[in-house]
């Protein structure tokens, strides 16, 4: 958490925006990260557009089975082939992509909301309360995440909503630690003292002044959480605990494909490529953002 400690607070809205503009310029200078951003946009647009076309009936229904046309290779009828139940792989990848991206984004948001609030409160209140709250984080940190997810899913049933919550609930820990460290460093700064002397309440100080000043590290860590959540979803698919059938996600499609890699390679190659490209872009974008938002790196 050292690097984030060195991050100077942006006191006013004005410097905040200029910091943002600087960061944007730096991000643009990182050609690969910039390209990755566009590629991600393209993937999202493709998935959403394809899904819309499929719902409109232009592209095939991803869940309609054709037991007389199973495991066909790519061709005119099925652009990327058909799967073991004769469903169109192309539209399944598009819909699966939407699900995977949604899991990635929503579960990350859940983790951000929990993590930021928890970390900020712990850091701001400090003292014994902070110690207790952080011991609780330590406890969860030391639990194997699969167990937590299995128990949560077993308790509440397996559906998309609980998948979001379960993944979000195990991913917030690092965020809480980062935010706590930031808030602890910030809360003794003059501008907070000033706000306090103006008679602002704790809630206002926390949410109007402290948290907005942690946005840099929060954004960076958030972009890095999305791919790791998507990976987690894939691991859960391996355990058979992902999205409920007949819907699919990239994780489920890759799992199905991995089982059939010797017989129908297309079932693995296409979804795995989509997944890998997306993760690759998200990771590079996250790294690029980190470089861009960390002014220390801008000196050269």
């Amino acid at each position: 958490m050292k690097s984030s400690l060195m991050h100077p607070p942006a006191d006013s809205a004005e410097t905040g925006s200029s910091l943002g503009r600087d960061a944007w310029l730096r991000l643009k200078r990182n050609r690969l990260a910039h390209a990755c951003m566009w590629a991600l946009g393209l993937i999202v647009a493709l998935c959403a557009g394809g899904a819309a076309l499929s719902l409109a009936g232009v592209l095939p229904d991803p869940n309609a089975t054709h037991l007389d046309q199973i495991l066909e290779g790519p061709g005119a009828r099925y652009w990327l082939g058909s799967d073991a139940l004769g469903r169109d792989v192309f539209t399944r990848i598009l819909f699966g992509g939407l699900v995977s991206l949604a899991v990635g984004v929503v579960a990350t948001l859940v983790s951000v909301v929990i993590g930021v609030t928890y970390g900020a409160v712990a850091g701001y209140v400090g003292g014994r309360c902070d110690a207790v709250m952080m011991r609780f984080v330590d406890i969860l940190y030391a639990m194997p995440f699969v167990i937590l997810v299995i128990v949560l899913m077993a308790l509440f049933g397996m559906n998309l909503f609980w998948l979001f919550i379960a993944i979000g609930a195990v991913e917030w820990l690092t965020m809480a630690r980062i935010v706590r460290a930031q808030v602890m460093a910030l809360k003794r700064q003059e501008f907070i003292e000033a706000a306090r002397s103006l008679g602002l309440g704790h809630g206002a100080i926390l949410f109007k002044h402290l948290i907005p000043n942690c946005f840099g590290p929060i954004i960076v860590y958030t972009t890095l959480t999305v791919p790791s959540v998507m990976r987690l979803e894939a691991v859960l698919s391996f355990l058979g605990m992902g999205v409920q059938p007949p819907n699919s996600s990239w994780g489920c499609l890759i799992k199905e494909g991995a089982d059939r890699m010797t017989t129908s390679a297309g079932l693995l190659v296409f979804p795995a490529a989509a997944f890998a490209i997306t993760l690759f872009c998200l990771n590079f974008l996250g790294d690029g953002l980190r470089d861009a938002l960390d002014p220390k790196g801008a000196k050269d």
Binding site: L67, M158, L239, M241, Q244, T263
Partner: protein
């Protein structure tokens, strides 16, 4: 990149020196059989195991009164009992034990051992999962439930060291078939009691070195999630007929097992995924074995929940499933589409032909039940336990109901095994996937469970005529008359349709050509005594 190059070179150099060669062939040369067995055994105690994989290990270690014939399920292979006979009503059976049967520590196997074992299995405090198999003994059920405490009143006694007499609660001509089951295997009293009491579940007697058994093999090692290794038992009474020197059981996952087989690490796979079955028809047909298996794949419907309280709805759902398409395109292992519930056996019981694919009739029935074109049909959940194969079948059914009946609200809900099983037992489901593998070769093992309040019923369905017919069947003088009664009962079951039968199982696996005498068996209990390896 640079550090990778020397690393790869180092690894390559290290490995080229030790290429494994054909491990399975070498093992065959040493008389070592390598079997995939699906999962790790729960126990090596015949009174505590419950799964199919566990019972395979038990068959190697223990031998019952009557054991599995190497070629024909219907035939009886003498085990510890040399011969046996029954009275005319089939209620009292006398087994004459051979005098040269030995435990793996050299002790003789006596009728007292069997008496002790049956008592142990029925002791309520042992809480054996399969105790109900011995309820056929007179007083067995009462003793196990604790209402009878005097074991001498249970229908089994040993007049001398080599005679065992079983008195049954009801006439059963198929009793010798039942006796083959793992729950009837004996345990060694001295060993059990050296490491604890008769009913202690947790003792060290199952450990290598402590374990004593009476089968063709004895335990050499058991490593959790690694393997169970058994070796030839020199004290076995028929030891010169045993050709294998060692059997290793591996608990590999389906795909891991297939890769291990392809890498020459196994002689036999426990299962084979659908896509590999299809592929190996062309390329590896010399390994592929597909044979009928005495089991039924079906769905339970909870008849206490609307709309399944209406038999018309249940029948409509059953008629809208294209079983042939599922078998041909989804499971792909030559299973037979079920036209009844009980699988037919050659020259034995034939179920009534009442289950078929008839979407027209299904639509009519659904309309009669008040859901024309599926309109207003409430959403319901199909629960499955986690498995790629179950999921594919459920997805196919879901789409068939949508297409043929217009039912769109079907959800497939995946549960891992523990949750799944407890939901079924508590009857907390709408429709639940199920499979039933016979314990013994008789239709009773499939039909008894649908009696009112049977612990395996779990659908809430019952019918007084059904229960009456089963009771009548038990006392019929001939097999034909008995089968006729059973068929009548099954007709009631299938017109009411509390279950949706899908297909009758096949066993599909890879077997290396070195393994000889591995014959197709309906119950898939192989007598390892007769298996040979020819490298």
């Amino acid at each position: 990149m640079r550090p990778l190059v020397p690393l790869c070179a180092f690894l390559a150099a290290l490995l080229c020196g030790c290429q494994p060669g054909d491990f399975a062939r070498q093992a065959a040369g040493r008389g070592v059989l390598l079997l995939g067995n699906g999962s790790d055994p729960k126990a090596l105690d015949p009174h505590l195991v419950a799964s199919v994989g566990d019972s395979n290990v038990m068959e190697a270690l223990f031998e019952g009164l009557i054991t599995h014939h190497p070629e024909e399920d219907t035939k009886l292979e003498p085990g510890v009992a040399e011969r046996w006979e029954s009275n005319a009503e089939h209620t009292e059976w006398t087994f004459h034990l051979r005098r040269n049967a030995r435990w793996s520590n050299g002790d003789p196997v006596t009728a007292g051992d069997f008496l002790y074992s049956y008592r142990r299995l029925l002791e309520p405090r042992l809480a054996s999962p399969y105790a109900s198999m011995l309820y056929i003994l007179r007083g067995g059920k009462e003793f196990n439930e604790g209402t009878l405490t005097d074991f001498s009143r249970v229908g089994v006694r040993a007049p001398d060291d080599f005679t065992l007499v079983c008195t049954l609660a009801l006439p059963a001509a198929y009793f010798p078939q039942m006796v083959k089951h793992t729950s009837w295997l004996p345990v060694h009293r001295g060993t059990i009691e050296r490491f604890g009491g008769m009913t202690d579940r947790f003792t060290r007697w199952q450990r290598p070195g402590n374990h004593v058994s009476n089968g063709a093999f004895k335990l050499r090692s058991w490593r959790i999630h690694h393997s169970v290794v058994v070796e030839k038992n020199p004290f076995y009474w028929d030891a010169e007929k045993v050709s294998l020197r060692e059997i290793r059981f591996f608990p590999y996952d389906t795909y891991t097992e297939a890769r291990a087989f392809l890498g020459n690490r196994l002689h036999y796979t426990y299962t084979l995924p659908a896509e590999l079955i299809h592929q190996s028809r062309g390329v590896r047909s010399e390994w592929l074995r597909t044979e009928p298996y005495y089991g039924s794949y079906f769905y339970r419907l909870n008849v206490e929940r609307p709309p399944f309280d209406n038999p018309k709805v249940r029948v409509a759902l059953a008629l809208a499933i294209d079983r042939q398409a599922i078998v041909d395109s989804v499971t792909r292992a030559n299973q037979e589409p079920a036209y009844g519930f009980t699988p037919p056996t050659q020259g034995g019981y034939l179920p009534p032909r009442l289950v078929r694919f008839d979407p027209e009739r299904a639509r009519t029935l659904l309309a009669e039940a008040g859901f024309p074109g599926g309109k207003g049909f409430p959403g319901f959940a199909l629960i499955i336990n986690t498995s790629e194969a179950h999921r594919a079948i459920a997805e196919a059914m879901q789409d068939m109901w949508r297409r043929h009946l217009g039912i769109t609200g079907v959800r497939i809900e995946n549960r891992e095994w523990g949750t799944f099983q407890s939901q079924v037992i508590r009857q907390d489901y709408d429709a639940a996937r199920a499979g039933w593998i016979a314990d013994y070769l008789d239709p009773a093992t499939f039909l008894d469970m649908w009696r009112e309040r049977d612990s395996n019923n779990n659908t809430g369905w019952s019918h007084p005529d059904y229960d009456r017919l089963l009771a009548e069947a038990a006392v019929q003088p001939t097999e034909e008359a008995r089968h006729a009664k059973l068929r009548e009962a099954e007709t009631i079951l299938l017109t009411e349709m509390p279950v949706l039968p899908l297909y009758w199982y096949t066993r599909t696996y890879w077997l290396r050509p070195e393994v000889k005498n591995w014959k197709p068996l309906l119950l898939d209990h192989h007598n390892y005594k007769y298996i040979r390896l020819e490298p």
